[in-house]
Amino acid sequence: MSEFLDSFWATYSTLVLSLGVNALLALSIWLTLSCGLLSLANAAFMGIGAYAAALLTLQVDAPFAVALAGGAALPALVALLIGIPTLRLSGVYLAMATLGFGEVVRVAILNMEITGGPLGLNDIPLKTEWWHVGLALLLVLYVLARLRRSKIGRAFEAIKEDEIAARLMGIDVTASKLLAFTLGGAIAGLAGALNAHFTFFLSPREYGFENAVDILTMAVLGGTSNLAGPVVGAMILTLLPELLRSLKDFRLATNGLILVLVVLFMPKGIVDPLRWRGWQGWRVWCRNK
């Protein structure tokens, strides 16, 4: 049994850890979405976090906990700074501004000496254990669940539904948006920091436009009306390419087709308690007929 586990872990450890990291990323964008912000900066925040943590480990041999904390803190600080001017934008304009920011980050990493430029960073020691990722995920889920049930979560929701009405309910909209954006940056950075310490190697390519869209897809596919949605979405998007491996050349096409079908038939995401309640209502109706 333990032999089986060992060989399973040897083969699939990266995949299992990616599940957790992607769930964190999906939750980071869920947070900004829950405040009505369509921000596509999370891949960049992940990159900043990954590089910050990896450099802390490589250059100053910092303890893992310090590297992780630095990986969460630096993107949060950057989010705070760029959030002040950009968060007055809304909708697609904010999406464009944050995408632009993501490109700036990518090009900056590509041209800086300390980040290794296009060659990236190599030989990052393996430090991330499965329970690090699990603990980080549980912690983030707990904090987000608590926030949701408080005045902060209600303020986010109010802003998402009607910003002007929220403002006239005495909610400081600017501060709330900045909080969601900064906290989202920290979570994405933490995911990046964890990721950096099991992939051995970082390159600026991994934090571009495609990844930004992937992160958004995970959250939207899973459903953004509750916390389980982004986690489920991340699981599916991470596992699907692996499960479809046997299809060889048709793998990516099938992957895309499944996503299109899900979005078509479940526009509010896979985890949608309202629809489930609807199904139950339908069953009751059938029984009574």
């Binding site: 109010a158 539904e161 005495g170 400081d172």
Partner: protein, 261 residues
């Protein structure tokens, strides 16, 4: 309580409000009426900080409101409802009302993360108060419904309850009976009287003359961005400038006389 003095608002070359001055007395129901496009909603937007006046000043309970962001004005004690109802449709009635209490819920981050007693007490008190406000509007039986499921009249009442949750001294109502049937209008008039009786001052914008005349103790009339009359309902009713603004000048007088002759 609230006074506007020489307030003007221009959008480029468009002069929406011109030298508007009036005072809303404490404890009464004050009405601002005027034909469509007279600038009534702009007055509310200026008071609540959504727009800034081009000139003039707005004072509330001794403070100048100019330059203050909307959420700070709300926290000083002015709440409003909207002409096109703006409730939070995906939230329950109870949640809608509790959102209005946001600024008054004072617990720290530690309290909410660790579920400390201070946090639990504050949340429990907020729920209790929200239920009380809903019961004032006779909506407490529907507290857990999604707001989207309410009838039009109930949505308006929910908006009242939510505005009251900010603990205002002055309540601004933007065309509260727009789009209501006569029965709903009478019901809403009662609700507004009840709110006033509980010690709130009310300032409403309205269109429906009969409604305003029955409800308000004092009325100002706005036409083309200027105040043309200000006084008791019976004075407004017989004021020739007001009649002209609402019904137009009778230019056919001469013609009528000719036909009669």
């Amino acid at each position: 309580m609230l006074s506007l003095s020489h307030v003007s608002k221009h959008f480029g070359g468009l002069h929406v409000l011109e030298d508007v001055s009036f005072e809303v007395p404490t404890g009464s129901i004050f009405g601002l009426i005027g034909p469509n496009g007279a600038g009534k909603t702009t007055v509310f937007n200026l008071i609540t900080g959504l727009l800034q006046p081009s000139s003039g000043s707005i004072h509330f309970a001794g403070n100048n409101l100019a330059g203050m962001p909307p959420h700070r004005i709300t926290r000083r004690g002015i709440a409003r409802t909207f002409q096109n109802i703006r409730i939070f449709r995906e939230m329950t009635l109870l949640e809608n009302v509790i959102v209005g209490m946001n600024p008054h819920l004072s617990y720290g981050v530690a309290g909410l993360l660790l579920n400390l007693p201070g946090y639990r007490r504050a949340e429990a008190r907020a729920r209790e108060r929200a239920m009380e406000l809903l019961s004032w509007m006779r909506l407490d039986g529907k507290a857990d419904l999604l707001a989207d499921n309410l009838s039009y009249g109930d949505q308006r009442k929910l908006e009242f309850a939510r505005a009251l949750a900010t603990e205002p001294k002055l309540l601004l109502l933007d065309e509260p009976v727009a789009g209501m049937n006569p029965a709903e209008k009478i019901e809403l008039m009662e609700e507004i009287r009840n709110i006033q009786a509980r010690g709130y001052s009310i300032f409403l914008i309205e269109h429906d003359m009969r409604f305003v005349m029955n409800l308000c103790e004092r009325i100002a009339v706005l036409n083309f961005g200027r105040i043309i009359a200000d006084g008791k309902p019976e004075d407004i009713r017989s004021n020739p400038a007001v009649i002209e603004a609402y019904l137009g000048r009778d230019e056919d007088e001469g013609a009528d006389a000719e036909i009669a002759a």
